[in-house]
């Protein structure tokens, strides 16, 4: 793990502003469920923000609203100063279950987004090669996702998203489907990649340690309906490294946040058979 302070000289693309966002699910049968209740959140340019909360607290819903996949019911969201109107390549997203196209090889999966950007052919090829190298998948270019391990699939998903060079990276529990060892390795790789070219990141997770390790700030949400319970600064003096991650302040921060999350997890658990 290396320092994660972003270099200051890269040009700005603006942060994210979430203003009074509410969201209700309306199932075909049964009563509507309020998933998000009046969320206000400002995320700075090039900031790495983690969103933590119990199952069903609306973390993913918030991320999907940021992605523009679902219509905004109430409130406003702007990214880089512009209100969002739908999905777009300015916001790349990485899903928990990878969401690779299983009928495309690793190379074709990464190429797909580049083709949609109408890039010239040789630039597409060059970019694809670059990102395959970056996530250490050289030699697996022509493998199908079904031939890869979970960690490798998630690397392809990250490479595919980074390749279209989004200003904002949305990550929906990207390491939640991986085993503990692979998860640790992927966290390190993500930090390394982010240090090389920092972008604004919104990272949804269940894992307190992962959140503190990766993020500049951690947003803890309440059980359903999801509200912002507390925002905690998790930037450490001298950046993140292996020593910091074993230091008392780091562990105390993890414990502090874990206590907040636990309160909500117990509320969520007792509320029903979630």
């Amino acid at each position: 793990m290396t320092s994660r302070t972003p270099p200051a000289e890269t040009p700005s693309s603006g942060g994210i502003s979430i203003r009074s966002v509410c969201h209700e699910y309306r199932p075909a049968r049964g009563r509507p469920v309020l998933a998000l209740d009046n969320i206000d959140l400002e995320i700075n340019d090039r900031e790495f923000v983690a969103i933590l909360g119990p199952s069903g607290c609306g973390k993913s819903t918030l991320l999907y609203l940021l992605g523009g996949f679902m219509p905004l019911q109430q409130g406003g969201i702007s990214v880089g100063g512009r209100d969002i109107t739908g999905p777009g390549p300015d916001r790349g997203i990485v899903f928990q279950n990878f969401a690779l196209f299983p009928w495309k090889t690793v190379r074709q999966n990464i190429l797909y987004g580049l083709e949609k950007q109408r890039l010239p052919k040789d630039e597409r090829e060059r970019t694809t090669r670059h990102f395959i190298d970056m996530v250490h998948l050289t030699g697996f270019e022509d493998s199908y996702p079904s031939q890869l391990s979970g960690g490798m699939k998630q690397r392809v998903a990250i490479a595919r998203t980074l390749a279209i060079n989004p200003d904002t990276l949305l990550m929906d529990e990207p390491f939640g489907a991986l085993d503990a060892q692979t998860r640790s390795l992927m966290q390190e790789e993500l930090l390394a990649i982010w240090n090389r070219s920092p972008t604004t990141v919104v990272f949804v997770t269940h894992d307190v340690r992962e959140a503190v390790l990766l993020a500049d700030r951690v947003v803890v949400m309440t059980a359903r309906p999801g509200r912002v319970k507390k925002i905690i600064d998790t930037r450490f003096e001298g950046g993140m490294n292996a020593e910091i991650a074993k230091s008392r302040p780091f562990l105390d921060r993890v414990d502090e946040i874990w206590d907040l999350v636990r309160e909500e997890a117990i509320v969520a658990g007792s509320a029903g058979a979630g």
């Binding site: 996949f69 999905p87 777009g88 969401a99 495309k104 949609k116 199908y144 996702p145």
Partner: protein, 248 residues
């Protein structure tokens, strides 16, 4: 090694032929109920000189035409129904009501509409196979994982591109297994239709041989169309495996 494996696979069939021959020859079963296997083979080679292939070709032309039209129209209709909600709201209940209709009840209707010729059989197979294909394509396209569609959209794909580049390939495994059911149905309807009324085709041949008391010939006809059905299915499975090679 491979040869041994292949032979081993056909052992049960060989066994069946031997048991068949024995049962019939030893008089355990009346020769009229089950002509000896060797008689059926003789009848087959005789029929091969007397127009078996012409009848078979006629049947296959009808079956293939009706089935191909059903697959093309059915997949297109099913996928578009799933993609454009208004179409679905109107057409879906209709499909669900017509789907469980016994397809063979179409036989007298197509005869009434079109007559005895090829087109009546082709229409029968087309309509009969259409609904299962439409429904499987519809369900497959609706069941496509939301995140695949979202991924494509967030990478900048337009609606039409999402449909053809994501929804259709993602739905392909389920579509292909729906088509397999229709393939079997096409054979059933083909034979039924030709048995009921036709002036050529393998079903017609089976019918007249049976009426004329040539039971060995009738069996040869049944075995012929069954064998064709078997290889059509095997070929289809092999094709499916090629198309879905990415599934490993």
């Amino acid at each position: 090694m491979r040869l041994v494996h292949t032979l081993w696979r056909f052992t049960p069939l060989l066994l069946l032929a031997v048991v068949w021959e024995a049962v019939s020859r030893l008089g355990l079963v009346s020769e009229f109920a089950l002509p000896p296997f060797s008689d059926v083979v003789t009848a087959f080679s005789r029929l091969a000189d007397e127009g078996l292939w012409e009848h078979t070709a006629q049947s296959l032309y009808r079956g293939a035409t009706g089935f191909a039209c059903a697959v093309i129209v059915g997949v297109l209709a099913g996928v578009l129904m799933a993609w454009y909600r208004p179409v679905h709201i109107l057409v879906n209940p209709l499909l669900r009501c017509l789907y469980p209709m016994p397809k063979s009840a179409l036989i007298p209707l197509t005869i009434m509409w079109i007559g005895l010729g090829d087109n009546s059989k082709i229409t029968l197979i087309f309509i009969g196979c259409l609904l299962p294909v439409v429904l499987s394509a519809f369900n497959a396209a609706r069941g496509v994982d939301q995140v695949l569609i979202w991924s494509a959209r967030s990478m900048g794909a337009r609606e039409r591109e999402v449909l053809w580049e994501v929804v259709v390939p993602a739905a392909m495994p389920e579509i292909l297994s729906g088509i397999r059911i229709s393939l079997a149905l096409a054979f059933i309807l083909l034979v039924s239709g030709e048995l009921i009324i036709a002036n050529n085709g393998i079903g017609y041949l089976i019918d007249i041989l049976g009426e004329g008391g040539d039971y060995a010939g009738m069996f040869a006809g049944v075995v012929t169309i069954s064998t064709i059905g078997f290889f059509a299915d095997q070929g289809y499975v092999a094709l499916t495996r090629r198309i879905l090679a990415w599934r490993e």
